[in-house]
């Protein structure tokens, strides 16, 4: 029997066993556009000369070509003469025929650039091919039409992405106008290709014709179960369940009322049961700037550290010869953290201010633990940046890295600030500590501020969203009330204290209208045996009884047994809340019960999702990055560590697609050979194992990635496209 099956296999032509994908594609993508591209200069090919495509696509191409000429893309102008008049008018940033052919071959060989559901221009054919499996309901269709009429959502999000990478407004205008013109191609990457080299656009269209067959077979593989990247339903089709929506709205109304209340009655106490807005606050800064000490003292001042603990820490720290670390011990609980006086992992604790229920994330400052800091900052809405004001302290934290492979990376004040901004933190309070060492000298405060402000602006912080204040952790100056020390009180009269600065932050808008996403930061078994997942909800809402699915994880959904936010049980959590979710198996009782998953199998970085709109694991994706302080230029094949929300993974850069103009987003050079410091670029990255990512336009928190290597952050960026 075994032999026979083998024999059947053996008649399978050997040729096709080598690269089945390639064969299928060369058949599908006829007539071969690469030949066309060779015969005529690539940049001359207009859609009218192209082989007939589906009318829909042709229309889109014409649209995009019209736009391209209108936008006067470099390379459009000198084409006519280049073949006859020789070298002079040639511009190197236009793609050569070689580039086009190569690009075409690679794209075909790769066999992957499948269309994105609902966003890229190629979505239409693949959807029609999948019709039998994923027939859109009338409601979905209606929604889609609505989206096409009002493409504001996508455009807005895209515009925001641009702003996050510190790009100018002209691009935003371009994006939105384009989205208005052809909603289907509001996608950044697709736009670049279409704009810049029509031949690429052709090839893309050709490939998508070929690939529709491919995605068809994809759909066959997953007819209804867990969705693949190309078969899952688009996030925009999500409509919240009616009962959940009612509760979410009610909670939003209550919260709005509460915050008004707080504004009008300043003495409203946090214990009065009024729901406070959640605020995730991360404390950043160079190692030994005094982050943990300041926060420890702050907790003490707020009355959250019992006198007994307080006394114990003082005594033990003094006994260990580390009296100055006593306050930090409030947060640094692990023995090795106390022994070495260095925070290792992010400590999470909660306290309430007048306006906020603050979740405090105390990040480590040591260079080796930047990965942990990234995980903390990825959850934060706002940051406190601690700067050591003692002589030499600020300079150490703010030092620039030296170049070369053996150069030392820069100080963590720099790195933390840029990482925080790239991880989505827009508002920050800069706390200058240890000023007591210089007798609370105002000049020192002003010097540091003057040195730091231009840098913070250059990495994308707005001056209006920055606050500056002096404070001292161990001495308790300017933490919860005005300073007591006469030297400091003399000149710090009207400025805020630390808690005041926290209250001055703006709460972040809750993305409740999207399907549930909750990256898992912590997993444990509760006393009752249920699996409890901790994390911050980044999209959607949850109530007990909601069905959820874990990606990666078992395909059966779980249902939520109970919820805990800020340490107390609750009946509803919404995006922006930090929660602990107790799960039971979805099909009620029976098989497995709450123990269906082993806590040790759920790694940090898994994401809890809505069962009908699950996230997917991706191994290959396209990023739009800003290259930071790199010791050597980035090349294709560069091995990096990827950090996205709380997940981290090994990966490498598989392609440098284009360098972009940081202001307009136009392609400066396609397929650059290397990327140098300060460039904005489109790159393709492959992870060794899958990561849960989303496009930035859909979920900001899940669409940001930082690339690190050798203790430095090489580049930060946003996900523009999921590929595999």
């Amino acid at each position: 029997m075994g032999q026979q099956t083998y024999r059947i296999l053996s008649y399978y032509p050997i040729l096709s066993t080598i690269k089945p994908a390639r064969c299928c594609f060369s058949l599908a993508a006829k007539p071969d556009p690469s030949i066309k591209a060779l015969q005529q200069p690539a940049y001359l090919v207009t859609p009218h000369l192209a082989p007939k495509k589906a009318p829909q696509q042709q229309q889109q191409q014409q649209q995009s070509s019209a736009k391209a000429t209108a936008a006067t893309v470099p390379g459009a102008a000198p084409d006519g003469g280049s073949t006859s008049s020789g070298l002079e008018p040639f511009r190197f940033d236009t793609p050569s025929p070689d580039d086009v052919v190569r690009g075409a071959q690679e794209r075909r060989g790769g066999a992957i650039p499948l269309p994105q559901p609902s966003t890229s221009a190629a979505a239409a054919p693949s959807l029609s091919a999948n019709k039998n499996f994923l027939r859109p309901s009338p409601m979905m269709q209606q929604q889609r039409q609505q989206q096409q009429q009002t493409p504001g959502i996508g455009a807005e999000a895209a515009a925001d992405g641009v702003a996050a990478l510190s790009l100018g407004p002209s691009e935003i205008a371009q994006v939105s106008s384009e989205a208005g013109a052809s909603p289907a191609s509001s996608h950044g990457a697709a736009r670049h290709h279409q704009h810049h080299h029509h031949a690429h656009g052709h090839e893309r269209a050709g490939a998508s014709v070929g690939s529709s067959g491919n995605s068809h077979s994809n759909a066959l593989e997953h007819p209804g179960g867990l969705h693949g990247l190309h078969t899952r339903r688009a996030v925009k089709e999500y409509v919240m369940e009616a009962d959940l929506e009612r509760e979410v709205e009610a909670a939003a109304v209550a919260e709005a009322a509460a915050s008004n209340n707080v504004d009008s009655i300043p003495s409203a106490s946090s214990s009065s049961g009024v729901p406070l807005s959640p605020l995730h606050l991360v404390v950043l800064g160079h190692v030994d700037a005094g982050k943990s000490s300041l926060m420890g003292r702050l907790l003490h001042e707020l009355g959250l550290v019992s006198a007994r603990d307080d006394h114990k820490f003082q005594r033990d720290a003094a006994a260990a010869g580390k009296g100055s670390f006593a306050w930090a011990w409030v947060l640094d609980e692990r023995p090795e953290e106390r022994e070495r006086g260095v925070t290792v992992d992010v400590a999470m604790t909660r306290f309430n201010t007048r306006r906020f229920a603050v979740t405090l994330l105390d990040a480590p400052g040591h260079r080796d633990f930047v990965p942990n800091m990234i995980a903390g900052a990825a959850q934060a809405d706002a940051a406190l940046l601690l700067v050591d004001g003692s002589p030499g302290g600020f300079e150490a934290g703010f030092s620039e890295g030296t170049g070369g492979l053996h150069g030392t990376p820069g100080g963590q004040t720099r790195e933390h600030a840029v990482l925080a901004r790239s991880l989505g933190i827009e508002q920050m309070a800069v706390v200058i500590s240890k000023l007591d060492t210089v007798g609370y000298d105002k000049a020192r405060f002003d010097t540091i501020r003057a040195a730091l402000l231009p840098y913070l602006k250059s990495v994308g912080f707005k001056e209006s969203s920055l606050q500056w204040l002096p404070a001292s952790g161990p001495l308790g100056e300017n933490l919860v009330g005005p300073p007591q020390d006469p030297n400091l009180a003399a000149w710090w009269t009207s400025g805020p204290h630390v808690v005041g600065a926290i209250d001055a932050f703006n709460p972040r808008e809750r993305a409740t209208s999207k399907p549930l996403r909750m990256p898992i930061t912590d997993v444990f078994k509760s006393k009752t045996g249920a699996i409890v997942l901790g994390g911050k909800v980044e999209g959607g809402a949850l109530k007990p009884g909601s069905k959820v699915v874990l990606v990666p994880g078992p395909s059966q959904p779980f249902s939520v047994r109970s919820l805990e936010a800020s340490g107390s049980p609750t009946h509803l959590v919404r995006a922006g809340d930090s929660v602990e979710v107790a799960l039971v198996a979805g099909h009620g009782g029976g098989a497995g019960g709450g123990g269906a998953i082993d806590p040790s199998n759920v790694a940090a970085g898994a994401v809890l999702c809505h069962p009908d709109f699950p996230a997917v694991l991706v191994t290959r994706f396209e990023l739009r990055v800003v290259v930071l302080d790199v010791p050597v230029p980035l090349l294709r094949g560069h091995v990096v560590t990827l950090h996205a929300h709380v997940a981290r993974e090994e990966g490498h850069i598989t392609a440098l697609l284009a360098t972009l103009d940081p202001r307009t987003g136009d392609v400066i050079k396609s397929r650059p050979r290397c990327l140098t410091k300060g460039q904005t670029a489109l790159v393709e990255v492959t992870a060794v194992r899958g990561l849960v990512l989303e496009e930035y336009a859909d979920y900001r928190a899940l669409g940001r990635v930082a690339l690190r290597e050798g203790g430095r952050t090489l580049a930060v960026g946003i996900v523009t496209r999921l590929l595999e």
Binding site: L87, F524, E650, R673
Partner: protein
């Protein structure tokens, strides 16, 4: 690896008989054997034996020759699985029937190739050279992740990967942390005991970010005494700590380049590769016109004999594409003939096992070719350029023209006339 018999010449057909002895040898075998080769080895097959009382199955030891169709490498187990069609006449298995073989340590096999190229021969020489053997073990460790690697004379293998999900330090899970942490350390300890053979290894480096490495060192010392693991106790002086930014395999590069360790492993290929790569990166930031990168540029430069040092990842040679492989083999040979140095490997680059045939190549140009390099860089030559530089060249495409001009500057001998 022991070479038991050989009969081949470059470019002609022939066979070798090999006896793999260490894990690294399996890596060589994996790189030597390709689709279409014939492999003879002993294997087992279940056959039906009619004993009169009904059919019975019996496991028979057979010596089979297979024509290879697929090759799988299991680095952790140190086993290569080969699937192919039978070429041996036997009463138990038909000609052309599919069968699979496992190549293991300590079991000899014969490899027949229709054509041996220079790279294959070099690999055989390298693999059978006793002087080059595994000599450094590294444990890359951080909270929740550890990799146990062996850095050999010619390759780097990850022998074990230990992962654990550690609870965070706050809240109800804080108590579980110590338990999970100790379990994790125990797993790593077991992996070290299993995979690190101190009779071969010159030193064991424990590296990683933060304090996990120190904690592991303490744990290992204590545990070795408690369990009485003699090799670990006796070789305490062979252990050293180093710093690395992550516990992923690619951080090994940082470990290998730190001075104390670099001195110990200076003869290994990995050390040489790290040095070349660093040199290349330095060149890229100081004199970028001499740093060539990517197949298009490297091939073009090699054609001119301009390459001083070539570093090319060996995943490029594991492709089952005769023509491509020949092209790369010629590239390496060409560079050597022209007096340059060519290193095939690229293990520390991290581009390795995962993606077959998608490796990279780097080249460092001779100083005298600097000016040409400038032309190449501005011209952005791609691999598919019409690269025929014959006696005459008529070039209409400006990219190619610039490229050709670069060649022309080099010397009229190769390109007598150039019409643009």
């Amino acid at each position: 690896m022991k070479l038991l018999a050989e009969s081949f010449a470059k470019g002609a057909e022939g066979y070798i008989k090999l006896l793999p002895e260490e894990a690294e040898d399996m890596w060589h075998v994996y790189n030597l054997a390709r689709e279409g080769d014939h492999i003879t080895a002993t294997t087992f097959r279940k056959v039906q034996v009619d004993k009169g009382t009904g059919a019975d199955t019996e496991r028979l030891k057979l010596k089979l020759t297979l024509q290879v169709e697929t090759i799988e490498f299991d680095a952790e187990g140190g086993v290569i699985r080969i699937k192919g069609r039978n070429l041996t006449e036997s009463e138990h298995i038909k000609l052309g029937a599919y069968h699979s073989l496992e190549l293991e340590l300590g079991r000899a096999f014969t490899l027949f190739k229709a054509a041996w190229d220079a790279l294959d021969i070099e690999r055989v020489r390298q693999a059978t050279d006793v002087a080059l053997s595994a000599d450094l073990a590294a444990v890359l460790i951080t909270e929740g992740l550890a990799n146990v690697c062996l850095v050999g004379g010619s390759t780097t293998l990850v022998r074990a990967r230990v992962e654990a999900n550690l609870p965070r330090k706050r809240g109800a899970a804080a108590l579980g942390y110590d338990k999970a942490w100790n379990r994790f350390l125990e797993h790593v300890f077991n992996a070290v005991v299993r995979h690190v053979d101190f009779s071969v290894v010159k030193c064991l480096v424990i590296a990683g970010p933060g304090f996990a490495k120190d904690q592991f060192k303490d744990y290992m010392d204590a545990e070795a005494v408690r369990r009485d693991v003699r090799p670990l106790i006796e070789n305490k002086d062979k252990m050293m700590l180093a710093s690395a930014s992550t516990a992923y395999k690619h951080s090994l590069k940082e470990v290998l380049s730190c001075p104390g360790i670099a001195a110990r492993i200076k003869d290994t290929k990995a050390a040489r590769e790290v040095a070349v790569l660093q040199d290349f990166y330095d060149l890229l930031s100081t004199d970028s016109s001499r740093a060539f990168y990517g197949p298009g540029h490297v091939f073009a430069a090699a054609e001119l004999g301009a390459i001083q040092v070539l570093l090319i990842s060996d995943s490029l040679f594991r492709i089952n594409h005769v023509e491509k492989r020949r092209k790369y083999a010629e590239l390496v040979e060409g560079v050597r003939e022209a007096g340059g140095e060519a290193l095939v490997g690229g293990q520390p680059l991290g581009v390795g096992e995962q993606d077959e045939g998608r490796g990279c190549c780097w080249g460092r140009l001779r100083r005298s070719f600097r000016r040409v390099g400038l032309y190449f860089h501005t011209a952005s030559v791609q691999a598919s350029s019409p690269r025929r530089v014959g006696q005459r060249a008529v070039v209409s495409d400006p990219h190619t023209a610039l490229w050709a001009k670069g060649c022309w500057l080099l010397g009229g001998a190769r390109l007598r006339s150039l019409r643009i």
